[in-house]
């Protein structure tokens, strides 16, 4: 009975956090889906998003949610810059080349971040209150983060399915050569896709910073979670990533009700391996 209560208490937390995980994973899986590049700079970009919230709120005293607009724009531009400087040249090379290229970007960002911020934890002392739902305490920051994550997902969906650049992205995802023959400017579309991926990573980091302390190294954990979510939702399927995020969030909320919290990563990564073995296209199907 106590475990059931605990489960009911932790479930809403897990669901709300799952939305944010979903946005982080969407960035990773979008890039993979469009250009078959595993972006190992995903984690540090999430961390940069966290620091942007810190500076926007603590130094400039701007509401972190308003701050998401410049964070999203900066994330998009950063992604385009990374694409042209590190990824574009190796886009057609074997996967190892792009993996190493993004790993280099990862090391550069962590090196610069460590020099600038050290690896000390930072905290954004930001509170949106809380309310009781039965025995559960729901935090305002998590509710708002989940709503924003949902809006970003909906926005991405509309962008991909209702706008010309979005359709170009889908066309390039399906068959880049054919898209180019149809006049789609594939290089610009690839850069835009990479920019969107990093934008989503930065935004998720900015949201996470409103409820957890963080350091320049914190992004690594969320990058790993993004891989698990990507596999759960189907690699290259951004909308599936949201559902994958929800599943992971729920697992993180529910597992501690039944066993020691230390088991959470064991089960998460065990699930990762199982999905890869029995359903390599993910629960919601890989890119089409």
């Amino acid at each position: 009975m106590q475990q059931l209560n605990l489960l009911l208490t932790s479930l809403p937390d897990g669901i709300l956090l799952g939305f944010v995980y979903g946005v982080a994973a969407m960035g990773l899986t979008l890039i993979w889906g469009v250009m078959n590049v595993i972006n190992l700079a995903h984690g540090p970009i999430i961390a940069l998003g966290m620091f942007s919230t810190f500076f926007i709120y603590i130094r400039f005293e701007i509401n972190p949610y308003l701050g998401l607009i410049p964070v999203a724009i900066a994330g998009l531009l950063l992604g385009v810059v990374i694409y042209f400087t590190a990824v574009h040249r190796v886009i057609n090379a074997p996967h190892l080349s792009s993996l190493l290229a993004t790993f280099s970007v990862n090391m550069i960002i962590i090196g610069l971040g460590t020099a600038a911020f050290t690896t000390s934890p930072y905290n954004v002392d930001f509170n949106m209150g809380s309310f009781k739902l039965g025995a559960t305490t729901i935090l305002g920051t998590r509710v708002i983060a989940a709503v924003i994550a949902f809006l970003f997902t909906a926005g991405l969906y509309l962008f991909l399915y209702r706008t010309r650049p979005g359709k170009y992205i889908r066309a390039v995802t399906n068959n880049r050569d054919a898209a180019e023959l149809m006049g789609v400017p594939s290089t610009r579309i690839l850069a835009l896709s990479f920019g969107l991926g990093t934008m989503l990573a930065a935004v998720s980091g900015a949201l996470i910073a409103t409820f957890f302390p963080f350091s320049i190294l914190s992004g690594g954990g969320y990058e790993l979670k993004s891989f698990v979510i990507g596999v759960l939702g189907g690699l290259g399927n951004p909308i599936g990533a949201l559902f994958g995020g929800l599943i992971l969030g729920v697992l993180e909320g529910v597992i501690p009700a039944f066993m020691n919290t230390s088991w959470v990563p064991v089960i998460e990564f065990g699930l990762f391996v199982v999905i890869l073995l029995v359903r390599p296209n993910g629960l919601f199907g890989a890119k089409k």
Binding site: P121, N123, A257
Partner: protein, 452 residues
Amino acid sequence: MKRSLYSIVTLLILAGLILSACGSSAPAEAPAEPAAPAEPAEPAAPAEEEPAAPAEPVMTEETVVIGFTSSLTGAQEVSSKRQVNGFTLWLNQVNEAGGIELSDGTVVKFDYKTYDDESNGERVQELYTRLIAEDNADFLISPYSSGLTSSASIVAEQNGKVMITTGAADDDAYKTGNTGLFQLYTPGSLYMSSTVDMLKELDPDAKVAIVYEAVKFATGVAEGIKPYLEENGFEVVMEESYASDTADFGPIVNKIQGSGATVLLGGGHYPDGTALARAIYDRQIGLKFAYLLVAPADTKFPELGDAALGIAVSSQWELAATHTEAEASNMGMEWFGPTGEDFAADYEAAYGDPPTYHVAGGYTAGLILQKAIIDADSTDPEAVKAALNAMNLMTFYGAIQFDTSEEAHGLQIAHKMVVAQWQKNEAGELERVIVAPADVATNEPLYPIPAQ
């Protein structure tokens, strides 16, 4: 265009490599070559009328190299940097004062060699091997944290080196037959004793949750305190560990609430401690008291804002409860080193912020090595080891004496801890005050913690 892109990428990679090289492995300046022994003076022709005067001891300078790693990056960065700052303050002071003069006329000065261990145990083993084999370190200081010290102590012991351990409270390393380790911190198994004694006075019916980081140090503390809690009649309603990289403490805090605990004892190190403190505050689960290891002892902890209020910590040293020469005299103990006030003023002048117990630990590691060399009247490692074994003295940091039994050689047996708590002063600012033991307390404990 292609060439310029190549140039940009190359420049970025070079910049990253240079920065990571600067940030990750910045060895201190190479230790100065030991000064060449002074040429023996040509014996002067004795004057016929006067008998030869006894020869003055020839002054020679010897530089002792102390090796250690520090965590300039990674999870232990905050506390490790403070420990190193304390150590370098001692080193600069002793060298500026002219070093240590031995009876044979040798003047001993100190230099150090250090590398960034990145808070990584495997790297610690590589680097301590390098410090011993390539840098010829004469004595070693431990890295910060029990886990890293455990790795370093194996290398030190294998090479027969004396290692003063500070920032490492775990008991286990001293129970493996080591002979060269000497621990400054109160052992982990006794870390929370003062807090439990205080709770017994405040609320003997408290229900306790023990929630701790799954690392050597915190596990040792948790395992050490559980029997003591039960001996004192407390009910332990929850006991659970969590991974070091845990960011979301929501499920754990919900579990604490579900257990009916009124008191939380736990934590581990700085990053997880701050996250746990914030999660407790965010959820307002009605805890009357929360004690966390390490994190609340840092001067950065109030960055949490109101989430820091009421959080208690064991402290190896606090300026408000610093040990004094008068105390040493009353206890019939030898006093050595500066007063706590002088140490704190010198540290603040050098680094711009007040010293924490990590700083005091780093400083005292140097101080007791200095005292051991004075007592041994030699820098010979065996003589210094013997002096450390015989040591029983009081410094501003507290009493220092080591277990000399075979079962637990080097374990600290004299040093006592205090309990500090973050409270608000009259101006509404957070400050860390001493709440136990009663004889050194500066404030009453904040119990229960007020709901925000």
